[in-house]
């Protein structure tokens, strides 16, 4: 097929021809074309099917408001459904397919729904498909789901990359038509930092689509000159192909820049960039959208908006039809006739709904005064129109203009509600605009070119930006408009929402059934819910509802406009955050050593930690973990515990501060000593635990759990600044600064003696359990040594500056060779803590109190501390509350399941009989059987009782004995050894 409808003129590059395909058929166009203009040039009128009735549809508009011409673009993983042909920039090799039909586009099997339309009126599905009940998911819904939807996702990972960014400016100008260009030029010349954004790839807005002159030359040429001037200024940033889609609080705007969508291949660069624009002020110059008039069968391919028809002729050099009738309720429609005729396109008639003389003198066309189109013919493309007076006109295109709606969307993204203007029959920006925003030009209801230029300048002059040069000269073309929303004499179905197939009858039925509030209307009929968000449909539908209720349009209401202005890909909103880079990851200082020594890693929050270290010959992770536990308990094991939060606390009041943030006493901790601390939330629930060491009179270092490192710091800052602002306390995180290793086991002291420099006496007397101090290692490297134990063995934690962490791990292992030392991971760590009955994340779950954890007596009532008052509420210290106890299976071979619930022997498995739950389980290599920690009602008083640990979700139950949670060395002799 050749470009049969290509005519002269237009702002396309005719020197280059590019090939593309539509439904596999090769066609040609030129740089500067959209897919829609190229399809029209090639005579392709039928481009898609509607959502509900699968009616044949063509191109309706020339912009982002397009309801009909949606295609699937590109192939394979890059397939992009629901792409508007009217905004898709043509590139060589573009591959587009029509969507939402079964069988070829021309013979859609699903078009049978059109014949059934009397039974598929608004809301029909709420009234049926209810019997029998089970058929909904099995039969009705799958059929509906299959028929619904539009384009298809590929089901494969999006192959493109996306990026985001932040821009700052004094003035953001949204829209580069006459008002936007004037606003940007004026402010830029006055020295403001300006960003000018436009969704189109060609800046200039409607100037590119019109034949109106500015300063005596073609408007498009004036636009190009102005853009060139702006592009040369260092204080201006031009963002073409960029849609400002949302106005957020405090002058933050969301904008989507399409960087490579106009290229066949993104070349490894971001396909789109999502900008957050911080604008001190903004001028909304987003123009206006033309609206249709509803009449019988007004949805056929060839029925188009008049401004779009004109744009195709003027900007793209394309004749949307060869015999084009105009149907208009306003003066602007006449300009379409004039422009088409000037390009040699036959305009048999201008049907003006107004009973008045022609605003333009157009010899060669017929003026049908006070006329209207009642119906159309042509199954897959318009052939003929029938007027209300019965006369028929053969045409292949009908250009319809029902007036223009200012694009007020962004003015309403916060609290603004549009206001009705009778003289325009349209909503214009009302009050409560986003702070800092002013509106200019057509978006503000200034629909003539001269007014747009004046308003563009005035808008920024009001902000203090002045330009003394005279305003460009342009005419104020006639814009009279008399409202006509639908042709009442039409008997056939008349469409309002073309994509979702909402007709005038549907609106009337909604009224009849009581769905009269605008939101009810939308929700009941699906009006305005399609991909175009009703940009051409909502106002006419609102007007028809107003007719039904006898109220005015503003009384009937308007709908909310919310971001985004046009749809934004999820990939762009996510930017780079996907796959492994979804969130940052943190590595421990000994990560490289661990990687080289058989570690399997596990995500612990953002950290990657060694989970276990497999050795040759081990059959599975249990073998490795059991070995690591046994080695630690019999000799010595080493574990990187850097991930625990470390907070450096200094100040004259540090001791008092700690005494208030921990529930147990800290006032008496001596220098050189460490104490275990339990922190409550203010609501009395156990929150975090760890050890705090007093390094000097006014210097402490606190450790927190890995999970709570950040939030504990936050809470401490809250206490320091908001609760006790006059305590001299200073906090700074040192978590990443120190590589810290647990060296645990009966041989730990022997090992450390080889590493810690000799001037530190490590004997039990000189450095007993809970001692701490600054030491040096390996001949002078500063380090900190803590005699603390999580494993229950004699143990130390040694910290060195993080840069030495990887080497330190190697040194410790080297020094431990003679003891068969082993590294251990988080699994062995977990087994040993369960063997010792220490609470960890599964127990400190934000719901358990110190009372539940068996630590109720730690909560001092003799001092002020966070959480102690509310921890004493009656139901939190109930006798029959759950308490942390240990469990072992009656059958030593049996396994335990974390998450099992406890039931008395013989009790029915119901929630009323629930006695508690198992929180952590492990196989204890030390004891040779499974062990568990759990919370049991009145647990502490039930030692020796036999219960059932049931896991209905696994279909299992196990008899367990209630025991002390301290499975190994309950007296704690080992750690003091």
């Amino acid at each position: 097929m050749s470009q049969v409808n290509r005519i002269t003129g237009g702002r396309i590059d005719r020197s280059t021809q590019i090939a593309f395909t539509f439904n596999g058929k090769v066609m040609h166009g030129h740089p500067g074309d959209t897919l829609a203009s190229a399809l029209l040039a090639n005579g392709q009128r039928l481009v898609g099917r509607s959502f509900k009735y699968h009616r044949p549809r063509g191109i309706f508009t020339a912009g982002s408001e397009e309801p009909n011409a949606l295609v699937e673009l590109r192939r394979g993983a890059a397939q992009e459904p629901n792409t508007r042909a009217t905004t898709a920039e043509l590139f060589d090799g573009l591959d587009a397919r029509s969507q939402n039909h079964r069988g070829p586009l021309g013979f859609d099997f699903m078009a049978v729904t059109d014949l059934l339309s009397p039974f598929l009126a608004a809301g029909f599905y709420y009234k049926t498909f209810m019997w029998p009940r089970a058929f909904w998911e099995k039969l009705y819904e799958p059929a509906i789901r299959d028929a619904a939807g539009l384009g298809r996702l590929s089901g494969q990972d999006d192959p493109d990359i996306y990026d985001k960014g932040y821009l700052h400016c004094d003035l953001l100008v949204i829209g580069s038509g006459p008002a936007g260009l004037m606003a940007a030029r004026t402010a830029a010349r006055a020295g403001a930092r300006v960003i000018l954004a436009d969704e189109d790839f060609a800046l200039g807005g409607r100037l590119n689509a019109e034949t109106l002159a500015v300063d005596g030359r073609a408007g498009a040429d004036w636009a190009a000159e102005t853009v060139a001037e702006l592009a040369a200024m260092s204080n201006v940033r031009l963002l073409g192909r960029t849609t400002v889609y949302g106005a957020y609080d405090h002058g933050v705007y969301g904008a989507l820049e399409r960087c490579t969508d106009h290229l066949a291949d993104s070349g490894g660069k971001p396909r789109q960039v999502l900008w957050r624009i911080y604008a001190k002020r903004a001028v909304l110059a987003a123009g206006a959208t033309e609206r249709p008039i509803a009449f019988g069968n007004n949805d056929r391919p060839g029925v188009m908006l008049a401004g779009a028809v004109r744009a195709y002729a003027n900007r793209w050099g394309v004749a949307p039809g060869r015999r084009v009738a105009i149907f208009s309720n306003n003066d602007d429609g006449w300009r379409t006739a004039a422009d088409l005729m000037a390009r040699g396109i036959e305009v048999p008639a201008v049907i003006d709904s107004r009973d008045r003389a022609a605003p333009l003198d157009l010899p060669g066309t017929r003026h049908v005064r006070a006329g209207a189109v009642a119906d159309t013919q042509g199954r897959k493309g318009l052939r003929r129109i029938t007027l209300t007076d019965g006369q028929m006109i053969d045409v292949d295109c009908l250009a319809v203009s029902g007036g223009w709606n200012p694009n007020v969307h962004l003015t309403c993204h916060q609290r603004g509600r549009p206001a009705w203007r009778d003289d325009l029959s349209a909503f214009v920006p009302g009050g409560d605009l986003p702070p800092g925003m002013v509106v200019a030009g057509a978006a503000n209801g200034a629909l003539t070119l001269g007014a747009a230029l004046r308003e563009g300048r005035a808008a920024v002059e009001a902000m203090g930006y002045a330009d003394k040069t005279p305003l460009p000269e342009a005419e104020d073309e006639p814009r009279d408009c008399a409202p006509m929303w639908h042709v009442k004499d039409s008997r056939a179905r008349a469409w309002l929402d073309l994509q979702n197939d909402v007709t005038v009858k549907d609106v009337k039925q909604a009224h009849q059934e009581g769905f009269r509030a605008v939101e009810h209307l939308k929700r009941y009929t699906t009006l305005g819910m399609a991909t175009d968000q009703g940009k051409t449909a909502n106002i006419p539908a609102l007007a028809i509802m107003a007719e039904c209720t006898g109220k005015t349009i503003p009384e009937t209401g308007t709908t909310m406009f919310r971001p985004p202005y046009t749809p934004v890909p999820i990939g762009a909103l996510a930017g780079r955050a996907r796959g492994r880079h979804f969130r940052p990851y943190r590595l421990t200082p000994s990560h490289d050593w661990a990687k080289a020594n058989g570690a399997t890693f596990v995500e612990v929050g953002n950290w990657l930690r060694a989970q276990w270290f497999a050795r040759p010959g081990e059959a599975g992770w249990r073998d490795s973990v059991d070995r690591e536990v046994r080695t630690t308990r019999t000799s010595v094991g080493i574990c990187d515990v850097t991930t625990l939060g470390k907070i450096d606390i200094q100040g004259r009041d540090a001791a008092e501060f700690l005494n208030r943030v921990y529930c147990n006493g800290f006032a008496t901790l001596a220098v050189g000593k460490v104490r275990y601390g339990l922190m409550l939330r203010e609501d009395g629930v156990a929150y975090d635990d760890g050890t705090t060491a007093r390094l000097a009179e006014h210097h402490y270092v606190m450790t927190t759990t890995t999970a709570n490192a950040v939030t504990v710091f936050r809470r401490l800052e809250f206490a320091r600044q908001c609760l006790w602002p006059d305590l001299d306390v200073h906090l700074i995180s040192t978590t990443d600064g120190w590589a810290q290793f647990a060296v645990a086991g009966p041989k730990s002291r022997d090992l450390l003696r080889k590493v810690v420099d000799a001037d530190q006496d490590l004997s039990n007397e000189a450095f007993p359990f809970m001692a701490c101090g600054a030491v040096t290692v390996c001949g002078g490297t500063p380090a900190r040594l803590f005699r603390i134990s999580f494993s229950g063995e004699m143990a130390y934690e040694i910290a060195v500056p993080a840069r030495y962490g990887n080497a330190m791990m190697g040194v410790l292992m080297e020094a431990g060779k003679e003891f068969d030392a082993c590294p251990y991971g988080t699994e062995a760590l977990g087994v040993m803590r369960i063997e010792k009955g220490h609470a960890a994340g599964n127990e400190l779950d934000g719901r358990n109190t110190a009372h539940n954890l068996g630590m109720g007596r730690m909560v001092s009532q003799k001092k002020d501390c966070i959480g102690n008052v509310l921890s004493q509420r009656p139901e939190m210290i109930r006798e029959d509350a759950v308490q942390l106890v240990g469990f072992r299976p009656v059958d030593p071979e049996a396994r335990l399941i974390a998450g099992a619930h406890f039931l008395d022997t013989g009790a029915e498995a119901t929630m009323d009989n629930d006695q508690g739950w198992m929180s952590s389980v492990a196989h204890s290599p030390t004891l040779g059987h499974a062990i568990g920690l759990g919370f049991l009602a009145r647990g502490a008083a039930r030692m020796g009782e036999i219960l059932r640990a049931v896991s209905p979700v696994h279909g299992t139950e196990t008899e367990v004995v209630v025991v002390s949670p301290h499975f190994v060395d309950p007296e704690g002799e080992r750690l003091r050894g």
Binding site: Q721, D726, L870
Partner: protein, 95 residues
């Protein structure tokens, strides 16, 4: 949203962490005879106004200051930003 930090100037709210009503500064006296009731009200009851709301924000990705921000919960307009430490002292908090 943008919070005009009293020391650092305008900063995006995503540098901050939100806590809630600035009344959380007014932690009751643990030894008051009705301490239980007062802590219950402190911990759980909120004015939750539709309009001006004094609230606590923490500049976690910044200078680590806690701020008292007066923000309208209907319009989101911010009318005042103070350092919480100053606000706390003004409310009589000290050591």
């Amino acid at each position: 949203m943008i919070i005009a930090h009293p020391l650092l100037g305008p900063r995006d709210a995503s540098e901050f962490v939100y806590l809630g009503d600035a009344a959380l500064i007014d932690r009751p006296d643990w030894q008051a005879p009705d301490a239980a009731e007062r802590f219950h009200a402190y911990g759980y009851l909120r004015d939750n106004p539709a309009g001006a709301h004094r609230e606590l924000w923490y500049h976690e990705q910044g200078d680590r200051s806690w701020l008292v921000v007066t923000r309208d919960t209907v319009t989101h307009e911010i009318s005042r930003v103070e350092l919480a430490r100053d606000a706390a002292r003004a409310r009589g908090r000290g050591r």
